[in-house]
Every structure is written in structure tokens, then in C-alpha cells.
């Protein structure tokens, strides 16, 4: 009997029941297993050669996978939940993450009924592919500092979008570089001689006929990123505007609008409704943390049981490294953390539903706390997880440095979480501000 089979005989609890706890329910477990099986057995989704591919080959292969996945969604008539799970098991950052995870939710959250009716059907059938262009070369976490401008021209009933300075160049948005035809762009709204601050606009950036950038649009990929694989499968992009005109009704107008005459009008819909999307994204990030951490811990735990070092006596083999207290003291807290984050994610899913139900009733009482604590939880879970993946690599000794261990790619794919959706230290200061106010 091999080592891991022997280890499994030692278990003092029912593993199948624990799988249900981890998955959330029996239905979720079966769903996960079906989708995992579907992906693992389809040669198009093969990923074992990813780290040896050149960036252009890697990216093209991601496009192939995304197109194949879309075909499967349609031919197998997968539900939204099944499709989301399948994307998770394909395990490769792709433009679809931004299209479904940011572009569509932005339109839902910030578009009027009319705008949703116009844009969502196109987005749902991927007749347009969208991204979320907020971050600029000179401004990340500080959204109020964005410099891109959208100036209303009442004579043509259009906005004119411009990138007035180099630091206003949109920089980092996933799917922007090579794939997106449309972007939700955040820009300062200038009308009636006044600056009304940052608002969201839907801007077409590429032709739907030949995919060429539209006149006045300068767009491209920002270059190779950290590690083999990782986010190199994603076309994080840059974008500049030179007097790009688009119709007035492409300002997302649920929270505020501009009239034909150029008057700025605040809608009755409370601005706080926009925070729901942020809570949703952060909830997903925490769930991701437990997922990535559990993968690293699985690798380190199994290999720590297989690997033997020192201590051989007589005919007896060397000692399993998992039996050393030094290994246990580094590994088992991470195992516990993976479970802790799982339960935290479940709670955050409840928190999201609760806050959305309250927002619908114009009850904003819990919003400051939810906003602050989800920021802080995103911060500590992503920082801990990225450190933990690196710790798991070290727990595997020298072999952990091999890409065959799976850990370098896991790390490269995860660490951006510490700086996207808000830098982790800046986010903790938001929590501190809430605590001080309390």
C-alpha cells in the first residue's frame, strides 16, 4: 500500500461528509464534481504545457479555451451557475472573467431600465465583449483622482472623451488590451461649465466588423506580467482617447444623468446602491482565497506525507516530514486557515444578500460597516493567502520551486489579488477609519 493510501486509513472522520461541508451542500458538491470532470476530460482545456508556452501562444490558447467553453455552454445548455463553475475549473484568467464579472454587473447596477434593455442582450450573447476601465496609469485605489474626461457637447448631444495627460491613460483593465469591443469607462463628467466628478460611460473601442480600434482610440496590451502562466493569459490593457465622441445615452444614468441641454440631474436612486457590486466582488475574492489556499495546502500536505528526510534507524525508512513539529507548525495553521476562510466566504455571501435586501428598502444603516469590513477582509485574506502559497512552496523543499509542483503558477496567478480592487494596506486604513468613527 502506498504512503497516501496508508494515511487515508488513519482518518478519524467521514471524508465524504466533510466534502459536503466544504462544498456547501450535496447539490453544490455534485455540481462541482460534474463540472470538474467535464473540464478535466476535455483535451482543449489541457493546461500542463502552459508554463513552457510563449506569451502570444499562451494568450491564443486562452482564446481557444474561452471560445470552446462558450460553445459548451450553448450545446450543453448549461445554467449560469454551471457555466460559472466550469470557468472556475478551466482555471485560467480570461477575458470572460471581466465580461461576466465586471462589465455586465456594472450595466445592471448603474444602467437605467432602458439602458439595460439595450446593452444586456448584446452582452449576454457575447455579440459585444466588455471590460471595466477604471484604473489609470497614475491612479489605482484613489478613484477620485481619475483624470480621463467626458465633456458633454449639447450641439451634437454627444460626450467627447479625452485622455488629457499621460497619467490618465487607462492601465490594467483585463480584456481591454486585445479582446474587448466595449468598455465601461470611468471619467470626470464635465458639463455646463462644471466638473461633476467621476461617472461611468459605455464606450465602444473596437469595430464590430474587423475588430480594428475606432478612430481616436489607442489601445493595446500592457506587457508581460509576473511568473510563467499566471495572469499572462489575460490581455490587461492600456487605453487612450483623443476626442472620441459617443451618444449622450451611453452615460450610465441610473444614479445621475445629463439632459439634452447639458444639465446635470441627480436621480432619486440612492448612490449607495452602487456599493452592492463592490460587496459582491469582495465576497467572491474571499471565496477565491479559500480556494487557492486549499489547493496550495493540498499539495504541501500530500507531499509532506510522501517525502521522508533523516531519522532512519535500522531497517526503518526515514521519517515522513509531516511528522516533524517544525513542518506541522507551519502547515497545519494554513490548513485551518483554508477552512476558516471558507466559512467566512459563506458568511459574506449572507452579508451580501442582507445588505442588498436592506438597500432595496432604502435602509443604509449597515452600509458603512459592511463596506469597511468587506474591504478589510479582502485585505487580510488575500495577503495571508499569497504568503501561504509561498510558505507551501517552501514546505515542499527544493521541488516546490519546480513548475511541476504547481505552486509557482498558483502563486503567480494569485498575488495580483493583493493589489487589485484596492491595495491591501489602503483597504485596512478604510477599516481603521470606520473603527475610529465607531
Amino acid at each position: 500500500m502506498n504512503t497516501l493510501a496508508q494515511e487515508r486509513r488513519k482518518a478519524e472522520f467521514d471524508v465524504e461528509s466533510m466534502k459536503v461541508v466544504w462544498a456547501g451542500s450535496m447539490e453544490q458538491l455534485h455540481l462541482s464534481q460534474r463540472m470538474a470532470h467535464l473540464v478535466a476530460n476535455d483535451p482543449v482545456f489541457r493546461k500542463d504545457f502552459r508554463v513552457t508556452q510563449s506569451r502570444p501562444d499562451l494568450f491564443k490558447n486562452t482564446l481557444r479555451k474561452a471560445a470552446h467553453a462558450w460553445k459548451l455552454v450553448q450545446t450543453l445548455r448549461l445554467t449560469e451557475e454551471e457555466a460559472t463553475k466550469m470557468r472556475n475549473y478551466i482555471d485560467e484568467p480570461a477575458y470572460t472573467d471581466l465580461h461576466w464579472g465586471m462589465f455586465i454587473p456594472s450595466i445592471k447596477g448603474q444602467g437605467t431600465e432602458v439602458q439595460q434593455q439595450k446593452w444586456l442582450p448584446l452582452a449576454y450573447k457575447q455579440a459585444i465583449l466588455g471590460c471595466y476601465a477604471q484604473t489609470e496609469l497614475g491612479h489605482g485605489s484613489n478613484v477620485q483622482g481619475l483624470e480621463t474626461t467626458a465633456t458633454f457637447d449639447p450641439s451634437t448631444d454627444e460626450f467627447i472623451m479625452n485622455t488629457p495627460v499621460l497619467t490618465a491613460t487607462k492601465w490594467w483593465p483585463g480584456a481591454l488590451g486585445k479582446v474587448a469591443t466595449h468598455a465601461v469607462v470611468y471619467a470626470r463628467l464635465l458639463t455646463d461649465g462644471k466638473d461633476y466628478g467621476v461617472h461611468a460611460f459605455i464606450v465602444q473601442i473596437r469595430s464590430l466588423e474587423d475588430h480594428q480600434p475606432l478612430p481616436g482610440v489607442i489601445v493595446g496590451d500592457i506587457g508581460v506580467k509576473f511568473g510563467n502562466g499566471g495572469y499572462n493569459t489575460m490581455d490587461n490593457g492600456f487605453l487612450r482617447f483623443n476626442n472620441v465622441r459617443f451618444p449622450r445615452d451611453q452615460m450610465l444614468m441610473r444614479l445621475a444623468s445629463v439632459t439634452k441641454e447639458g444639465k446635470y440631474v441627480q436621480s432619486d436612486v440612492p448612490r449607495q446602491l452602487g456599493y452592492g457590486a463592490m460587496v459582491y466582488v469582495r465576497k467572491s475574492i474571499v471565496m477565491d482565497a479559500s480556494n487557492y489556499l486549499s489547493r496550495a495546502v493540498t499539495i504541501a500536505t500530500r507531499y509532506s506525507a510522501v517525502r521522508r528526510q533523516f531519522g532512519a534507524q535500522g531497517d526503518k525508512p526515514e521519517i515522513q516530514v509531516i511528522d516533524y513539529m517544525t513542518q506541522q507548525s507551519r502547515l497545519f495553521p494554513l490548513l485551518a486557515t483554508a477552512y476558516a476562510y471558507r466559512f467566512l466566504g459563506v458568511w459574506m455571501a449572507w452579508l451580501y444578500s442582507d445588505v442588498m435586501a436592506r438597500l432595496e428598502k432604502n435602509d443604509f444603516s449597515t452600509l458603512p460597516e459592511v463596506h469597511a469590513c468587506t474591504a478589510g477582509l479582502k485585505s487580510i485574506t488575500t495577503s495571508t493567502t499569497s504568503d501561504a502559497i509561498e510558505e507551501c512552496r517552501k514546505l515542499c523543499g527544493g521541488h516546490g520551486y519546480l513548475c511541476a509542483s504547481g505552486l509557482p503558477e498558483l502563486y503567480a496567478g494569485y498575488v495580483p489579488a493583493c493589489t487589485y480592487e484596492g491595495d491591501n494596506v489602503v483597504l485596512l486604513l478604510q477599516v481603521a477609519r470606520f473603527l475610529m468613527k465607531t
Binding site: 488513519k10 478535466a40 485551518a336 511541476a404
Partner: protein, 216 residues
């Protein structure tokens, strides 16, 4: 925090701050022979740490001539206070999850061990916070470390099964070291043989760059 004196009751994850006076004055009660694993004891420790760090910051900011400048000046301490608050949330959510029915043989008891490991490993990793606020003594931290060692021994026979419960397939893990069957070394070796670098015994570039050096 300054509003607490006016009778305003904090809610949600910050509700514990309503009990700030007791949290700021009552130190940890754990002594040799007493149980570090009592959930109330653990929760109180995290609440006291968070409340004390927050009160320290709030007091200093209140004393600054300008509150915003005080906030900026204390940003490092504020990050620690925020982290303490968030870690308290994670610990209490884990504890809450264990209060509900969890079917399956010994599933709950295994999760209880993991919950205790999570909480105690945070306490031992953040001893600075607990010592500087005066909540824990050196002896109490030693007791926490000893209890942690006990817990590691309990989790050891279950470790592989606990990661099996994540149900990650070999495809999803993409790891030779983490293979389900544990057949690590044979596969590492065979995979190396298939590496593009090993497609021929003599490397490209030999004639151009290695041979001239050897033959010079």
C-alpha cells in the same frame, strides 16, 4: 469610539466595542490547568486585542491638534488595529459555523480542532499585539503554544483526509507533488524526460557555443 460615552450602541461586527470598558480592563484569565480552548476565552482575547488597539489609536488621534493629521501620523498603528478587527471577524465566523448541525462522523470535532488551531496560531503569531496591550502575560502565551502543539498532534492523522475533503482533482491541482495517488518521484522523473529540453541528448547551441569553448 468617542461617541460610545454618549450611549450610542455599535452594531454588527463592531458590537463588541459597546463593551469596551470591560475589554480594556479585564485581562486574560487563563492559568496553568485552565482551558485555552474555551470559545468564550478565545473570543474575549480577540475582542480585547482589537478594542485595546483601537482605543489606543482613538485616544492619540483625539489628542492630536488636527484629527486628519493624527490619522495620517498613526497610520501604521491603525493598520494593526484594522487587522485585529478583521481577524476577530474571521475567528468568530468560524466559531459561529460550528454552532450549527454538521452531519457526518467526527466532522464537527475535526473542524473544532481546526478552529482552535486557527485562533491559537493567530494569538501566537501576533503576540506583540497581546503583550503591548497588556492583555496576555508571557506565561499565558507559553500555555497557548503548548496547547497548539497538542492540537497539531490531534490533526496529524487526519491531515491527508482533511485536504482530500477539498475534493480537488489532479487536473485542477496541476501538481506532480500533490498527486492523489502519491506517486510523486516516478512522475517527476518521467515528466522531466518529456521536457522540451530533453528532446535530444545534445543541446541546440552545442556546435555554436559549447564546442568552440571546449576546443579552444
Amino acid at each position: 469610539l468617542s461617541l460610545l460615552g454618549a450611549g450610542k450602541k455599535p452594531a454588527g461586527t463592531a458590537a463588541y466595542l459597546g463593551n469596551v470598558r470591560q475589554l480594556a480592563t479585564q485581562n486574560c484569565q487563563v492559568i496553568k490547568g485552565a482551558d485555552w480552548l474555551n470559545p468564550t476565552t478565545l473570543q474575549h482575547a480577540f475582542e480585547a486585542r482589537s478594542a485595546r488597539l483601537a482605543v489606543n489609536c482613538a485616544t492619540q488621534i483625539a489628542e492630536a491638534s488636527n484629527q486628519e493629521a493624527g490619522f495620517t501620523e498613526l497610520s501604521m498603528e491603525l493598520v494593526d488595529a484594522a487587522r485585529a478587527h478583521c481577524e476577530l471577524i474571521v475567528v468568530t465566523r468560524f466559531m459561529e459555523a460550528l454552532k450549527r448541525e454538521l452531519p457526518g462522523r467526527e466532522v464537527k470535532s475535526q473542524l473544532q480542532v481546526l478552529c482552535n488551531i486557527y485562533a491559537l496560531s493567530l494569538i501566537t503569531a501576533r503576540t506583540g499585539d497581546f503583550l503591548v496591550t497588556g492583555y496576555l502575560s508571557h506565561e499565558q502565551i507559553d500555555l497557548a503554544k503548548a496547547k497548539l502543539r497538542d492540537l497539531f498532534r490531534q490533526v496529524r492523522p487526519n491531515a491527508v483526509a482533511l485536504v482530500d475533503a477539498f475534493d480537488h482533482s489532479d487536473y485542477y491541482l496541476g501538481s506532480t507533488l500533490g498527486r492523489y495517488d502519491g506517486n510523486v518521484y516516478t512522475n517527476l522523473y518521467n515528466d522531466a524526460l518529456k521536457d522540451p529540453m530533453n528532446q535530444s541528448p545534445v543541446t541546440e547551441g552545442y556546435e555554436e557555443f559549447i564546442r568552440p569553448v571546449i576546443k579552444q
